[in-house]
């Protein structure tokens, strides 16, 4: 008798559970159908136009278009220099196409030796979306991170868990930070303090000292060396609040695709331990359109180990 009652109870429970599952599943489906799309994805976002949804000032691109720069670098004002920085910001991005590349990073220490890794990166700058997947070393192949605007996830394939990180984090305990993989927006993050002129190798440069206007950037003060003719950044010194040199970045080779310029060789030297240096080198660059699903957590999980 008790057994029959138990079976009946289980049957009723199973029916109830089945109905409950259907209701729950239905609720989730309805909710998902109504949910607003996230910033990633072509053509979506609230701002409209090519910059929609990435949180930049509305006239960020437009104000730059017709700006007349002085012919003589000695005549540059602080505002001219800020517009020059803005021009380098805009030209470091691909607002009209996606971009993918393979980048190798080699970190050198005279005592500890040479460490190398290689990543595949995917960028959709109009949505401020970025995906990086480790290719080498083989033992860490598939690890990666996804960033869309200010949402950044790192994926740990061992625990199958996503975690948030910040743009300030140092990448791989090297002289490179996560922010170095983002499209440049120095003209938004910094204000010009002073400008001078100088020479860097074969190039005449305008040197601007800038101060951060928010605490989201990893370096409160920077000094930029910009070649004025083609408006490309050659060198950036990054300082602490006490003006101690923390890092120097050299951009020694560029690739130009249309209006965009990518620094394909970037050398970073630690300011506190000069023997510590890293070089980031781009290869296999493409502006071929990327599928939307590349900029999802699901894709990052699938391509990891």
């Amino acid at each position: 008798m008790n057994g029959a009652r138990a079976v009946t109870t289980k049957f009723v429970h199973a029916k109830l559970t089945g109905k409950l599952s259907l209701v729950l599943f239905g609720l989730v489906l309805v909710f998902s159908a109504r949910a607003q799309s996230a910033p990633a994805g072509g053509g979506h976002g609230g701002g409209g136009g090519p910059m929609g949804g990435i949180g930049l000032p509305l006239n960020f691109l437009q104000a730059d278009k017709d700006y007349k720069f002085p012919d003589d670098i000695a005549k540059y004002s602080a505002n001219d220099f800020l517009m020059l920085v803005r021009r380098t910001d805009i030209r470091s991005s691909f607002y009209n196409s996606d971009m993918s590349a393979t980048i190798s990073m080699v970190s050198v220490s005279p005592v500890r030796g040479t460490f190398a890794n290689k990543q595949q990166i995917y960028r959709r700058d109009k949505d401020d979306a970025f995906l990086m997947i480790m290719v080498e070393p083989e033992s860490r192949k598939g690890q990666g991170m996804l960033r869309v605007d200010n949402n950044m996830w790192r994926y740990d394939p061992t625990s199958r868990k996503f975690t948030h990180t910040t743009l300030k984090d140092t990448y791989e305990n090297s002289t490179v930070t996560n922010n170095d993989f983002r499209r440049w927006q120095r003209s938004i993050d910094y204000s010009v303090v002073s400008i001078t002129t100088g020479t860097l190798g074969n190039y005449k440069v305008i040197i601007g000292e800038l101060k951060a206007n928010n605490d989201e950037v990893p370096f409160p003060y920077i000094k930029m060396y910009i070649e004025a003719d083609r408006k490309i950044v050659l060198k950036v010194e990054e300082y602490s609040l006490s003006m101690k040199l923390l890092r120097t970045a050299y951009y020694t080779q560029y690739v130009q695709i249309g209006d965009s310029l990518i620094p394909t060789v970037q050398i970073f030297q630690d300011g506190l331990i000069p023997e510590k240096r890293s070089q980031v080198t781009y290869t296999d660059i493409s502006t071929k359109s990327l599928p939307d699903y590349y900029f999802t957590k699901e894709y990052l999980e699938r391509v990891s180990q």
Binding site: K10, L27, A116, E138, S159, I267, F295, R302
Partner: protein, 534 residues
């Protein structure tokens, strides 16, 4: 399996490893680039960097870039690839029990070999990857601790693959990790296939790890994981179920459905779970539901969130259940006897909230605070009844027993951590000092554990020396949640010299009586010269 069996199996394992990889040693390919063009210059000379005859800007036709990859650096990588990494050393290992020694206590001093993180990676082609990682502590006539993990990642494409991983563990003294393996244990960690339909619906089918929830020490929404969270290593991977997962990404939002087939051979032991992740601004919200046909695990709705409020990172999990999963125990009508019962017709609520704050400054000062509270409506208001062995046995012997009936059985919990780090000096005279502590408290059985730690790192790179002092302490009655062995404190010191080429470890577990008088003092110590570092 006894030690003799392990001793027999280790040589076989070593032979198998080299049989697998040895034939490909000749094909070893370093991941270090062969071209100097990707290596930073030995000396930074700005005139050389920007003074060459070649223009630093290379122009690429947009149509060419849009059609495919433009190679700027020659790819010299070839397959197959065989890689080895990790360290191996030799030295001394021993135990000594100066106070309260019994016949089972070790009084030993061995010459020993220590293998740490020795990993072999073999890739016959770009899409096939076999990996084996080993940790081992061996003395002349036996293996004291061993851990071997391996996986095979066999891809047909980016999104279609077979993945298998397994592990072997033997670690009776918790030398290699915080988990104790009293006898050798083989386990299947994961075995699944990934596939997809039209790059829109993704499937993962098989035994897999599943990590739900945003909590750190407490994750009431992590209903699918099969093992409990390790309080001393909350981020450690946990065993997952055999499940069919369907995943539908919608930009950053995300719909997941898990179907867990029967786990007991009976059809009604199957369950279903679904979760929807929604990204709103800087917040990620998740709505989820779970139900099991036989109702042994009760149906529930879940809401979790993670985001930031000003400078604080905030997360939370909320679970509403109809009935409790737990099999409870209470004193029976006969003195000394216990009876079990379940509560299946009342709503229960679980909620956890965590707050994190961290700051770092360019002068090297950094600090972090993290606190998490947990209300577990399905727990005992007073869980001290589980400190009685007979009560625990009654739960284990009940027909509805589940592994988590005896874990996180309290109703109120609080956990937290704090760290403070400072940097002094520069270059080779760099000194980094970090103080940290974590603590967990179960208010329902009055047990707690905490671990203060001080780490001093002197020098940089190859000349670096690291000194670490810690004292993991558990306070509470025997069989309580955070002090299962009663009051116990374990001061420990670890010293790594010459960038860990020489590694010294010593710990002194001290068992205390309930009045905190010393009951037993043990010591465990080792010193190894890690002469081989791949």
């Amino acid at each position: 399996m006894n030690n003799r069996t392990i001793r027999r199996s280790i040589p076989l394992a070593i032979v198998a490893i080299f049989a697998l990889f040895g034939a490909n040693l000749w094909a070893q390919t370093s991941s270090t680039p062969t071209s100097t063009s990707v290596t930073p210059p030995a000396v930074i000379d700005e005139n050389q960097l920007f003074g060459g005859s070649k223009d630093i800007v290379t122009v690429i036709d947009p149509a060419t870039a849009a059609a495919g990859n433009v190679q700027l650096v020659k790819d010299t990588k070839t397959y197959p690839v065989f890689l080895i990494s990790g360290t191996a050393g030799a030295g001394l290992y021993g135990n000594y029990t100066p106070v309260g020694s019994g016949s089972s206590d070790l009084q030993t001093l061995y010459g020993a070999v220590n293998i740490s993180g020795l990993e072999f990676d073999y890739l016959p082609t770009k899409d096939l990857h076999f990996s084996l990682a080993n940790d081992l502590l061996a003395v002349p006539n036996q293996i004291l601790a061993a851990s071997v993990t391996g996986y095979a990642d066999l891809r047909m494409s980016d999104l279609v693959r077979l993945y298998a991983s397994g592990a072997f563990n033997y670690d009776p003294t918790s030398y290699l990790s915080t988990t104790k393996y009293s006898s050798p244990a083989f386990s299947l960690v994961e075995l699944f296939v990934d596939t997809q339909i039209n790059n829109q619906i993704f499937f993962r089918l098989g035994k897999q790890r599943i990590s739900w929830g945003v909590g750190y020490w407490y994750k009431p929404s992590d209903v699918l994981s099969l093992s409990a969270i390790d309080p001393d290593n909350p981020t450690a991977a946990r065993e997952g179920p055999f499940a069919f997962k369907v995943d539908v990404p919608m930009k950053l939002n995300h719909l997941m459905v898990y179907m867990v087939p029967p786990v007991t051979g009976l059809a009604d032991s199957s369950s279903i779970a679904s979760k929807y992740d929604l990204v709103v601004g800087g917040w990620e919200l998740s709505l989820a539901g779970y139900a099991r046909a036989d109702m042994l695990a009760r149906p529930r709705g879940i809401f979790t969130f993670t985001g930031a409020v000003g400078p604080f990172d905030v997360y939370g999990e909320n679970v509403l259940l109809y009935g409790s999963d737990r099999t409870y125990v209470r004193p029976g009508s006969t003195p000394g006897a216990y009876e079990t019962y379940r509560v299946e017709d009342l709503p229960f609520f679980q909620s956890t909230l965590g707050i994190k704050y961290s700051a770092s400054y360019s002068n090297g000062l950094s600090y972090a605070l993290h606190v998490q509270g947990y209300y577990n409506g399905t727990g005992y208001a007073d869980s001290s009844i589980l400190q009685n062995a007979a009560a625990r046995t009654a739960v284990r012997n009940s027909g509805t027993y589940q592994a988590n009936d005896l874990t996180q059985a309290g109703m109120w919990y609080l956990a937290g951590s704090a760290s403070l780090s400072g940097r002094f000096g520069e270059g080779r005279n760099l000194t980094q000092v970090t103080g940290s502590v974590y603590a967990l408290r179960n208010f329902s059985d009055t047990s707690m554990r905490f671990n203060p730690q001080l780490q001093i790192q002197v020098g940089d790179q190859g000349g670096r020396a690291t000194f670490t002092f810690s004292d993991l302490t558990a306070i509470g009655p025997s069989l309580s949640e955070y002090a299962p062995n009663g009051n116990k404190t374990t001061p420990a010191v670890t010293v790594g010299i010459l960038n860990d080429a020489v590694d010294l470890q010593a710990s002194v577990p001290i068992l205390l009586n309930s009045d905190f008088s010393v009951k037993k003092v043990q010591t465990e110590f080792s010193i190894f010269w890690n002469a081989v570092q791949y």
